[in-house]
Structure formats: C-alpha cells, structure tokens
C-alpha cells in the first residue's frame, strides 16, 4: 500500500443538490461575517505586533533584537527547545506505539494522563517543580547540600517546558496510528522483519507527516511557553530569561517598541509553524 488511505473521502460538492444550499445572499453574509470575525480576532493582533514593533523605526527595532540580553534570551530559548523537543518526540512515538498496537488494562488512564498538561494551568506546571526541587521542596535541602540548582536555573526551565509540551507528539500520533491498525506491521513480522525495522520501514512512512506536525507544534510551544517557565525561571537577565519572559520584562519597563520587537521574533516562529503545518496537512492528504 503506497499511499495511505485518506482519512476523509472527498465528496464532490457539485453532487450536493441545490435544495441543500443556502441562497446566495445568505451564503455571502455568512462568509462576510466569518471573515470579519477572523480579521478582528486573529489577524488584528498579528498586525499590531508588527506596527508596534516598528513604531519608532527600524533602528530601535534592530537595536532591541540585537541587545545582548535579547540575544542571550534567544540562545536560552533555542537551547531549551533543542533539549525538550527530541525527548518529547521519543516519548510520543513510544507511547503511541504501546497504546495503539497493543491491548492492555488501564489504557484509557494512560491516554487521559497524557492529556493532563493540556488541561492543567501552566502555572501549576511550574509550581509542582518548585514543590519538588525548590529550596523548601522535597529534594531542596539535599540539592542545596550538593550545591545543585534546579529551580531558578536551566534544569527547572527544561523540566517545566517538558511538562507543558509532552502531549503534543503523542496526541498527534495516537489517533493516526489507531486508524491505520496493525495489519501492515503484522505482515512485516510474517515476512521476517524485526523490532525497530518494522517501525522504520512500515509504520514511519504512514505517520511521518503527522509526526512532523506534532514535532513543530511541540517546538512552537517549547519556545513560547510563558506561565510554567515564569514560575521556575527567576527572571535573571542574561541567565534564566527566555524570549517570552524578555517580552514581559521589556513591557513592564515601558520599553514597548523593544518589547514588541522581541515579540515579533516569536510571531515569526508562529507563522513559520503555521506554514509548515499547512504544508504537512497538504502532503498527508495526497
């Protein structure tokens, strides 16, 4: 089976009878209303980021994003993403394999557990690590004795980011692999394929676009997380300040143009993510 079965069959819209279509006036009123809502709710905030960033000219803009504090925030944000995204990708693939290819008790619980970070406030995502590793936390005294720092340092930021981003890859893959069943993999076993080779040669080609989509969503959230990271970061400039936190610091110092300039970098990240997303969806539908 070369191309996987498309999830939705394309029903030709021309086949729909005229009786089940709205009158042309109603149709265009609905379209107009929907477009207006989208322009107001989603496009306007995007435009305002750019206009505010460039309000005081390019010079201020360039200065803001080439500021040493901004650069070190960018570096930290990239570092956090480089560590957390691969870890969560491996977890996502492993969890999706176990959940979709086998039957076991408590499966529904495991799925619910994976969804948990989506429902829990990111602030709680940060708080739980403070309770475990903070100065007054479970391991706090032990860590202090050994001069190890987790909270208000890089490890804490990584842990909090892991927490909020770990469902993304698994959540993308589970429905996809569930729909595909396991006949292809079983056939590969019968033909003598083993272990990881089955995943690599049989499963992966079927799920690759979904997997990539999960990874870029995970990455966007890892680079953009604010609430959870804010709790554990300590906001030390040039040290534990990520890009989103830097936006906040500049904003609270009334350096609005600089704040929006840094925000525009994160907006760019979001737009690139959306671009990849629509590319992946188009690919997976063919």
């Amino acid at each position: 089976m070369a191309g996987s079965v498309p999830l939705s069959t394309n029903r030709p819209s021309t086949a729909r009878q005229r009786k089940t279509n709205e009158s042309s006036a109603v149709k265009w009123i609905l379209i107009g209303a929907a477009v207006l809502v989208l322009l107001w709710l989603i496009v306007l905030p995007l435009i305002v980021v750019l206009t505010e960033a460039l309000k005081q000219g390019w010079l201020v803009y360039i200065e803001a994003i080439s500021d040493p504090d901004a650069l070190s925030a960018l570096k930290l944000t990239l570092l956090v993403a480089v560590i957390t995204v691969p870890l969560n990708t491996i977890f996502g693939v492993a969890a999706a394999w176990a959940i979709t290819k086998f039957k076991f008790r408590g499966k529904q619980w495991l799925v619910t557990l994976i969804d948990l970070p989506f429902a829990v406030s990111p602030v709680i995502g940060g708080l739980i690590y403070v309770l475990v590793y903070g100065a007054n936390g479970w391991f706090g005294p032990w860590l202090q004795e050994h001069d190890l720092k987790i909270i208000f340092a890089l490890p804490g930021i990584i842990l909090a980011t892991l927490f909020v981003t770990f469902p993304f890859v698994a959540r993308e893959l589970i429905p996809l692999m569930e729909d595909q069943g396991q006949q292809e993999e079983e056939a590969a076993v019968m033909l003598g394929a083993r272990g990881f080779k089955i995943f690599w040669k049989v499963t992966l080609p079927n799920i690759k676009w979904g997997l990539l989509y999960g990874i870029i969503l995970c990455n966007a959230r890892a680079m953009g997380e604010f609430g959870a990271v804010s709790v554990v970061s300590g906001h030390i400039r040039g040290e534990t300040n990520t890009l989103p936190l830097h936006v906040e610091i500049l904003y609270n110092e009334y350096q609005f143009s600089a704040s929006f300039a840094v925000a525009s970098l994160l907006l760019l990240l979001a737009l690139v993510t959306l671009l990849f997303k629509s590319w992946f969806t188009r690919k997976s539908n063919h």
Binding site: K27, E52, V120, V123, V247
Partner: protein, 276 residues
C-alpha cells in the same frame, strides 16, 4: 516468535515502549504532581479551608470562571460560524483563513497578551473607539474575556470542522425534499449532530481559559477582587513564599481541570464512536 510477545500479539516492542512511557510520565508528571497532592508544604485542613474561602481567592475563582465561560460561549457561536463557512463554501483566500485559525495555538501567549493589551487599552486601535463612550476594555473583565476568546477559538473550530466535513448530506436532502426550510433543516437535522463537537469545543476552550496565564496577565491589570485571575494568585503567593497558600489555590484549580478533562475525554470518545 518469542513466547513473551505472543500473549499480546505478534508485534514486538510492548515491554520497552510501555516501560519507557510509564517511566517518563512518572518522572515528568506523576512524581511532581504527587508533591502537590501529597501535600509537601505541610498544609493543614484548617489552613486549606482558610485559603480556599478567603474572599480574595473566591473572587479570583469567580473571575476566572465567568470570563472563561463567557469566552467559551462566544467562541462556540463564532467557531460554529467559521467552521460552517470553511467547510461548506468556497471563497477567495479560504486556504489562508483556514491556516490562520491555528495561530493562537502557535503564538506564544505572552505575545498575544501584549498585542491584545495594545489593541484594547485607552489609546489602542479598538480601545480608543470605546473610550469616548465611557467603556473601558483593557484592565476589566471584558479584556480578560477577549484574551480568552483569542486563545479558545481554534479549539471550537478544529473540533466542529471534521464532524461537519463527515456529515452525510443525504439526511439534509431528505429533509429538504420533505419540504423543510433550510433554517429548519439546520436546526433539527444538522445542529443535533454538531452538539457533541460543540460541547467538546466549549469544554476545551473553557478548560484552557480557566488555567490561562500568559495572554491574560497583561490585559487584566491584576487588581485584587476585580481582575485577578486564579493562576495569577498562585503566582503572587509563590512570590511571597506562601507555598502552602499557593498549593491550596492550585489544588482546587487542579480538581476543576481533572473533572473537565474526564468530561472532554468521554465526549471525544462519543464523537469517535459515532464517526465510525
């Protein structure tokens, strides 16, 4: 085949993938979460009750609840409209609009927060239109609701869209043939089918709204009793090193999230079942 794998079928890798998943979840979620549940801060029932019924805490729950519910409801109506237009009609620029729906998923919440504040503050593009009328948007519950609407809209659109796409048009055709008006067909044939995804979308937006922090802190103004949301209260208790207080507020918030999550999961299972 090895006898150990035959019990679960012929496919390999159950032990290692399952073991790794459980270990990872334990390290990243279960152990830290148990620190909250097992009361590592020495929170007594008395203190818990004191914090939970404190008027400032109660006010923050009320604000979080009401704004998240209002935003979820408005998103449900607007999301249905957008999903309908995207699935049923063709118009120029449709592909771009469809892609833009996901922007709130991809945009860091802090960016949304500063941008929305700029739009709705007294000298902002929209805020300045309402200022002469004596209506303030930023730094009021209206502003919080608008921020949560931005965050929540893709949840509704993306849950309704696939169901609408799969909807059989035969029943609609039958209804039309039997003389039902288009509006009546929508109300009594299409809407009942869309009820589960609409409810799911609302619940997802609501759940996200209750816990949301980044997009709200800037626009809310954070005035105690008036525009202070529950997640922010956790944050300020932490900043005052009141770990027990933060734990108490977080426990209630967590309980609400658990209930919502179970509800959403059962709704989603229902949708998947009827889809098959």
């Amino acid at each position: 085949m090895h006898s150990s794998t035959s019990k679960r079928g012929v496919l390999p890798g159950f032990g290692i993938t399952m073991g790794y998943s459980v270990l990872y979840i334990s390290l990243v979620v279960l152990i830290p979460l148990s620190a909250l549940l097992l009361n590592s801060t020495g929170l007594t029932w008395e203190k818990f009750w004191d914090v939970a019924t404190d008027s400032r805490v109660l006010a923050s729950y009320k604000i979080s609840f009401l704004t998240a519910a209002a935003a979820g409801l408005i998103d449900t109506v607007l999301g249905l409209l957008i999903a309908w237009v995207l699935v049923r009609y063709e118009f120029p620029g449709k592909g771009i609009f469809d892609a833009m729906i996901d922007l709130p998923f991809a945009l860091p919440t802090a960016v949304a927060g500063v941008s929305l504040t700029a739009i709705y503050s007294a000298n902002g593009w929209i805020g300045s239109l309402f200022e002469p009328l004596g209506i303030k948007i930023a730094f009021t519950p209206i502003g919080i609701t608008l921020a949560l609407m931005f965050i929540g809209i893709p949840f509704v659109v993306r849950t309704v869209q696939p169901v609408l796409q799969e909807l059989e048009t035969e029943v609609e055709e039958a209804a039309a043939t039997l003389g039902a008006s288009r509006f009546r067909t929508f109300r009594s044939v299409i809407l009942p089918e869309l009820l589960p995804p609409l409810l799911t979308g609302f619940a997802l937006a609501f759940a996200r709204g209750i816990g949301e922090y980044g997009s709200v802190v800037f626009i809310s103004g954070n005035m105690p009793m008036k525009t202070e949301i529950a997640p922010l209260l956790i944050m300020s208790k932490l900043e005052q090193f009141d770990y027990a207080g933060a734990t108490a507020v977080a426990l209630i918030l967590l309980l609400i999230s658990f209930v919502l999550l179970l509800l959403i999961n059962s709704l989603q299972r229902k949708i998947r079942k009827t889809a098959k």
